[in-house]
Symmetry: C2
Subunit: 380 residues, 2 copies
């Protein structure tokens, strides 16, 4: 068991009606609010109205930056940061899923500086401060609501990268499972897949963190038990609540304590290449990659994959475990091959080129250009 | 699943050598330090010296309040608070186990007020502020290092009571498993028992919080797997680390999310009566009570007790589960009857009188004077 620091400053407000506390909470941070959201679904499902009612009730001055894309781009982050800087906002309110909240995190660190957000992704620039961020989550998936991580992509350099910094934790996150009821079946399934792969990434760290492993199994079993039921009953509050909390717990660092590097994360890096190239939703990119990745590294990880299957699916061998993951993803209608995604054709050269742009690799299971063709062969 | 707020401000520094960061951390809060500790074992095992080196390295002005008892009393809390008030301390440093850190929490809230700490236990007085508290944990058991709860006893009123308030979270807690290596087998076992009963108390809430239940099973399995191994190898760092982290996770609210009342806690209330009357260590009081409590409420909780056993011990029925808990506690040499504690004689009238002083009851499973004689009959 490795040394670790457990600390998470986010206030997570979970349950029915919690957004009623939003206005008062926001007003503790100031009156000028940068409201960041996505493609406008919050106008259709009534969430925009509820949030604006809260903001108006405390007399907030609201500046809107809508239009964050499902795979968010750094140009939006920079433009929203310019708006926030110009209006001298006190607080950022992000209403949406992972792409919106991730973007808002990077906006919060970019407003106080005079360079593009992308410079934080090189690793040299580090924020010294950030504008307080408050989030209202509308999609259970990435866990961004209670962690310091943010993924954005740069179309110019063809990179989709993750970054983490303690300044990026939301101060408060409001999670009302009712707000996720209008999410359609496919995106609900991608969210379930996403939370599951967050668990497996943490698990495939090289360390020996027994309690964190047990938490991984717990969250995976929660997804395996309630995920399919939810897809049968998309309006069920209780099932929405269980999956929503599971998604938060899957990436609020709980599964990472005592590990060497907080997990492997190689499957995510490979998945980001597919999302970047083909605009595949994040969760779907992961279900394409994970089975291939486990097959390719099966010899090395045999005992670990088998133990994962034993604890989550009650299977026995590593092969059984891989088959169980694959079948589960298929049962919730997630792709397990790139060909399942329905691209007109698969251009292997293009994928290799995409990989060359970021050189995806894991913290524990290293990968390089010799591995990519074999991996593509397994997931194409 | 009930609404909940997940928030925990404590920075938990876990692992080998973490106390090297103590001096610098303390100095962020000021230079006048009230150092609170217990019976002096920290003088023997070198911990006092390590802590003082840290304090001296940052030029701290240290006022000591030693002598906190294993079952801490409110007189000590009030006296230490007077010292802290008189010296106008900036920060409290608690070095010890649950009794020391619990006392220090209440001291931190009592210094700024002009009444006895006991008034907080009535429920009407609430602290508006508290002196920052930093903890160095030397015993894995109560979880106090990362929660807002504090138990003290009042010998005058014969009450031992718990209290929780958001001001009571330690700002930082330092957990070096090496600091627990000198804890003897009996107290190591009581700590294991204590963390296990924290899990069962959370579980016996009336709500339906599936992921919190899975976390309960995870922590219990960790204790059942590594607890006995640790008692065979008291010097083993890895085993000390696993039990230490399990004890923190068992009561840092993780097991409580989504529950109706955060757990039942009736077993603790009954245990406090035994600790109060016979100075029985907290963990040992719980292993005397839990089997009797499960037997007495078996009919009502049959399905729930059975499911607990299935998930932790692989047993089948509620009776099997109760037997498994009893055998496990016996295997780690914890008492499962009051008679195991070796009192010269058991005075039932005295126990009933002790119960009458606090009327122990659970949040979910209510108890009253009609139940006490039957419970005593089962645990005597």
């Amino acid at each position: 068991m490795e040394n670790f620091v457990s600390w998470n400053p986010t206030h997570l407000h979970f349950g029915k009606g919690v957004v009623e506390k939003l206005g008062k909470t926001i007003s503790n941070y100031g009156s000028k609010v940068l409201l960041v959201y996505g493609g406008g679904s919050i106008h259709k499902n009534g969430i925009y109205r509820s949030v604006m009612d809260q903001l108006l009730s405390v007399g907030a001055e609201v500046y809107e930056y809508p239009g964050i894309r499902p795979n968010p781009i750094v140009e939006d982050v920079d433009a929203a940061a310019r708006l926030g800087r110009e209006k001298d906002v006190d607080v950022i309110l992000a209403v949406g899923g992972g792409s919106v909240i991730d973007s808002a995190k990077v906006i919060s660190a970019t407003i106080p500086v005079n360079h593009s957000a992308w410079e934080f992704y090189g690793g040299d620039e580090k924020p010294k401060t950030a504008i307080p961020l408050i989030a209202v989550l509308t999609l259970a998936a990435t866990g961004t609501e209670m962690n310091p991580f943010a993924v954005v992509q740069n179309n110019a350099t063809k990179e989709k990268l993750g970054w983490g910094n303690d300044h990026l934790y939301p101060r408060h996150s409001f999670l009302d499972p009712q707000y996720t009821v209008s999410v359609p079946g496919d995106y609900t399934a991608y969210g379930i897949a996403d939370l599951m792969v967050h668990c497996t990434e943490a698990y495939f760290d090289g360390g020996d963190a027994s309690l964190s492993d047990r938490f991984v199994f717990s969250i995976l079993k929660e997804a395996v038990e309630y995920g399919p039921k939810l897809l049968d009953e998309l309006n069920d509050y209780e099932l929405r609540a269980r999956i929503m909390y599971a998604a938060t717990a899957a990436l609020n660092k709980l599964t990472m304590h005592g590990r060497i590097k907080g997990g492997d994360w190689g499957v995510h890096q490979l998945g980001h290449v597919l999302s970047m190239l083909y605009d595949i939703p994040h969760g779907a990119s992961l279900t394409i990659i994970l089975p291939a990745w486990m097959k390719y590294f099966k010899k090395r990880l045999s005992g670990k994959i088998a133990r994962l299957g034993q604890n989550v699916f009650g299977t026995e061998t590593a092969d059984d475990a891989i088959r169980a993951f694959e079948s589960f993803f298929q049962s919730i209608k997630c792709p397990v091959r790139l060909s399942d995604w329905g691209l007109p054709q698969i251009n292997i050269g293009e994928i290799l080129e995409g990989m060359a742009a970021t050189n995806p690799s894991g913290n524990e299971i290293k990968m390089n250009s010799k591995d990519y063709p074999n991996l593509i062969d397994l997931f194409q």
